[in-house]
């Protein structure tokens, strides 16, 4: 069975991610141990909350995650995807892991559109990717976020529109990310987790 390291840096509800990965047929271990992360078949970087706190709490593990993410499949979820990018402008400009070229920005405040972007919205798959194998070109998934990712088309796997179009899934080599929560997106989300396990 494939070993997946779910990076624990002290944030968020990890239970659903673990159960989703287990259901997809993997052995999922919540860990903050560099060796366990370095030796896993795949890595999941989960996360909710703020960018800077997330990077701070990741701390020394950042190096391990970057090195591993260049060699084995790495899936960033929500804040975890944003942390894969170069920079974020959440509460000042902060450096990300730089695994995927692109930046994280705040949604502009507009009349009538609420922030956070919370609820079920459509992803539109822009380029074929093993992560979205077996899904339709457009699917509903569950989002909760106040900042969005902007990446060049070659790194943008799926897009979503809320206030403005943004990258809802990105990839650069073995590192990929989804802005939505596959572990909260019912059957579609479970399929995405299965696809990730298939890639290992």
């Amino acid at each position: 069975m494939k070993q997946v390291a779910v990076v624990d840096y002290g944030l968020g509800n990890l239970r659903s991610v673990i159960r989703g990965l287990e259901r997809a047929g993997a052995v999922a271990t919540v860990t903050s141990d560099a060796e366990t992360i370095a030796s896993a078949d795949g890595i999941v970087l989960p996360g909710v909350g703020a960018f800077r706190e997330g990077m701070e709490m990741l701390g020394d593990l950042a190096e391990t995650v970057v090195a591993a993410g260049r060699t084995v499949p790495l899936l960033g979820i929500c804040l975890g995807m944003q942390m894969l990018m170069d920079t974020s402008e959440e509460h000042g400009v902060h450096q990300g892991l730089g695994l995927v070229p692109g930046d994280v920005k705040r949604f502009p405040q507009t009349a009538g559109e609420k922030i956070p972007h919370m609820g079920w919205n459509t992803i539109r798959i822009e380029q074929q990717d093993p992560l979205f194998e077996g899904l339709c070109r457009e699917e509903y998934v569950y989002f909760v976020h106040s900042y969005y990712t902007s990446a060049a088309p070659e790194y943008t796997v799926a897009t979503t529109t809320y206030i403005r179009p943004f990258a809802s899934s990105v990839r650069n080599g073995t590192a990929c990310g989804v802005q939505f929560h596959p572990e909260k997106s019912g059957a579609v989300g479970l399929r995405i987790l299965e696809n990730f396990i298939e890639m290992l």
Binding site: R19, P116, W120, V144, K184
Partner: protein, 268 residues
């Protein structure tokens, strides 16, 4: 491609069992919240809310068990409310697998609980539930709201399940909750709750226009049209209902099909 409007069934739990919903004969165990939540999931519910009305602190362990089992089976967003008074309570519920915690009376008594919860767990985790009642005796400083019959009133925040008036203006409280870091407002009007006459539209619309975070309308659904009114007239981002789903009057899917036919974006 738009953000869809959400339909959220709410389950009231006491000692780990569903309080309403015993008429659901098709269920193997009518009182098991996870089984009922699974049924709503299959009908296309966008989220599920568990409201724990267990009186004693000693019995609180049962809600943790329910949340864990639900999180293991459902793979959709879970909100848990009732009896959450401290950051430790929040942490325990979130670790069990809930995505959001809902605080009500405890937030009114200690508004800093909102800010501390938002700082620690993120604003998206903190739902502030606001229960309101109309007060026709205007007072200086209260936000006047026009009722459909032409009268004017203000809406007062009530606590302890609607039993205790606080003197706090609902609009002001909603604004403060947002400033302190609430990621969502769950609004229940005691005027309409349990009446099946529809949501309390004037206050729902007023709060939805006042705050920049999503608003969930609650209290009073009796017909399919009431959901439509909640979204269109009440400008709600989500509608919550309990009894119409528990008693099997409509399925979540029927509500969504009705809304879709009337042009409301929903996930089907």
């Amino acid at each position: 491609m738009v953000l869809t409007k959400r339909i959220i069934p709410c389950l009231d739990l006491k000692d780990g069992r569903v309080v309403k919903g015993t008429h659901f004969v098709a269920l193997r165990d009518a009182g098991d919240p996870v089984e009922l939540a699974q049924r709503y999931n299959q009908q296309g519910a966008d989220e599920v809310v568990f409201l724990d009305i267990t009186a004693s602190r000693e019995q609180r362990g049962t809600i943790i068990d329910v949340v864990q089992r639900a999180a293991d089976q459902l793979f959709l967003p879970l909100t848990v409310g009732g009896g959450i008074r401290t950051l430790a309570d929040m942490q325990q519920i979130l670790r069990a697998g809930a995505d959001k915690v809902s605080i009500n009376t405890s937030a009114v008594q200690d508004p800093a609980l909102i800010s501390r919860g938002a700082e620690r767990f993120g604003t998206q985790c903190i739902v502030v539930a606001i229960d309101v009642r109309r007060n026709l005796k205007m007072r200086p400083g209260a936000t006047p709201i026009a009722l459909p019959d032409g009268r004017e009133c203000w809406y007062e925040v009530v606590t302890y399940g609607g039993t205790r008036p606080t003197g706090i203006d609902a609009i002001e409280w909603a604004r403060e909750a947002e400033e302190r870091g609430a990621g969502e407002i769950l609004l229940t009007s005691m005027e309409t709750d349990g009446t099946r006459d529809g949501f309390d539209i004037p206050i729902t619309a007023a709060i939805s226009e006042e705050v920049g975070v999503p608003v969930i309308a609650s209290g009073g659904v009796g017909t399919l049209e009431h959901f439509y009114e909640g979204f269109v007239d009440g400008k709600a981002d989500a509608c919550l209902a309990a009894s119409v789903f528990h008693y099997g009057e409509f399925t979540v899917r029927q509500v969504k099909e009705y809304l879709a036919a009337r042009g409301i974006p929903v996930r089907l």
